[in-house]
Symmetry: C2
Subunit: 287 residues, 2 copies
């Protein structure tokens, strides 16, 4: 058994390693708490290369128990999740999320499951209608936000649970590329939409994922009032970390600012420009 | 030291306890994985009674490191967080989230901090504009969803980190009641809005929080295709658990279906009916 001192020093080394991977040589917090849960959170890496093996038994149920344990607005449970494991359905999900090149997110085909997270007001609307209640709130943008946030909080808990079990995951915003067709494929009821996907599987460690660096905390964290100047200035330190990451990952040269410029172009959306029409057709009036 | 067998049996007892609290006598998963991270997730309880003590040093930085470690759409970091610790600013935040009764969410005043999570496209729009890029994507609903989801994934990681440190938290959707005034108070830039708040502090254990039961997994979890019938039928088992919870918590009698009916009435929104006008005025065109 290790002494308290040895343990404290090995914990400090672990803090340093985790913060180094996340912030590189940018400013970083002087001290953070570390426990097994926080280690899991800080060590997150998105996995885009999976083994074809099925998930361990009970893994989906564990993720869903974690997801249901997340907070939900007014205890209304306005989300659902469709676990797509059938290879034929999964191939169709992939085709709808493959982008204009037709080849993005290939790992949806590799991995044993994609969880599609649904902002879902349909169940509760049905109940309120059956009880003769007024259905006013669902017409408003706030209801759309409430259900979208519910789905995201639930999904993040599921993702954390997955990673803590040694599984890998990647979120798929491209599940909104063809939101209407995907809703039809899954047979979603009105007043629900696929908010995003989450691919889960055993990581293929022959192509290991790495922790992506983030900007310094000062870029996103403000105290009492938003300080745009501080955020802008602190961003300067991010480019070198971003470049180092891309180089180590064998990705083509590109600055983060260039990636930001690209993300604002119409071509970035790959069909997601239709989202408003889709959700309105599905009953969210966004008033 | 305990034998492997003793440990396995005490772990099983812990699984049972966690699942019992979450599902009561409804159907529940036959087996779930449990490790310290999953225990933290499954044991979540929203805390609404806090000690006035400040957070331990490093707690906010730990939560933000966890938040930044969450996935972010296309590595764009389109969220921010404003930690309100100044009692005068916090009193104003509370007043804006206090609802029409003027007395909801009093614990915002008690707790040492409320973190306001911001869906924030402003930083990246500024960069793209400075680089002479097209600003097309921010006009679309998808950009609003992308930033809203980014903020929620980040916040959930922060919340999990907080609970793992022994802190308590409660999400505050009512931070959207007066979204325009709150944005002004915090000095938010255009193309950002407060998505929700997260109150964090040391729980006041003289008024202990309890785990809220959830519906059976079959209500939210579907395989390959959405099955509304199964969801509806599985909901029946939830009412008794909901009633038991309310009785044990000393809350007035109300069925869950009644709470759903109430959540669909105009009065539920407490000002959130203005959210669309606010976010459009703040530059999100929701096209």
């Amino acid at each position: 058994m290790r002494s308290m001192q040895e343990r404290a020093s090995s914990e400090n080394a672990r803090h340093d390693e985790l913060l180094q991977a996340r912030y590189g040589s940018q400013g970083r917090p002087a001290s953070v708490f570390v426990n097994p849960t926080i280690e899991t959170l800080l060590a997150h890496k998105s996995v885009r290369s999976f083994l074809a093996e099925p998930l361990p038994e009970g893994a989906i149920e564990t993720m869903v128990a974690a997801a249901q344990s997340a907070a939900t607005s007014s205890n209304l449970h306005q989300w659902s999740v469709v676990a797509v494991t059938d290879p034929q359905v999964k191939a169709k999900v992939w085709a709808l999320a493959a982008g204009s090149s037709g080849s993005n997110n290939q790992f949806i085909g590799q991995a044993p499951v994609i969880l599609l997270w649904i902002a879902d007001i349909s169940r509760n609307c049905e109940i309120a209608a059956a009880e003769g209640g007024d259905l006013v709130v669902p017409d408003y943008l706030d209801a759309f936000v409430m259900a979208t946030v519910d789905a995201a909080l639930a999904a993040q808990n599921a993702a954390v649970a997955a990673e803590s079990m040694g599984l890998g995951y990647c979120f798929i915003g491209a599940a909104r590329n063809n939101a209407r067709e995907l809703a039809d494929l899954l047979g979603l009821p009105r007043l629900s939409y696929v908010t995003f996907g989450l691919v889960v599987g055993r990581p293929d460690n022959s192509k290991p994922a790495t922790v992506r660096p983030r900007p310094a905390q000062e870029v996103v964290l403000h105290f009492n009032h938003y300080d745009g100047k501080q955020a802008r200035e602190s961003l300067a330190g991010y480019e070198p970390e971003f470049s180092k990451f891309r180089e180590a990952a064998g990705l083509p040269k590109m600055t983060w600012r260039e990636s930001v410029v690209n993300s604002m172009k119409f071509s970035y959306m790959d069909g997601r420009e239709k989202l408003r029409d889709t959700v309105i057709a599905r009953g969210f009036l966004l008033r």
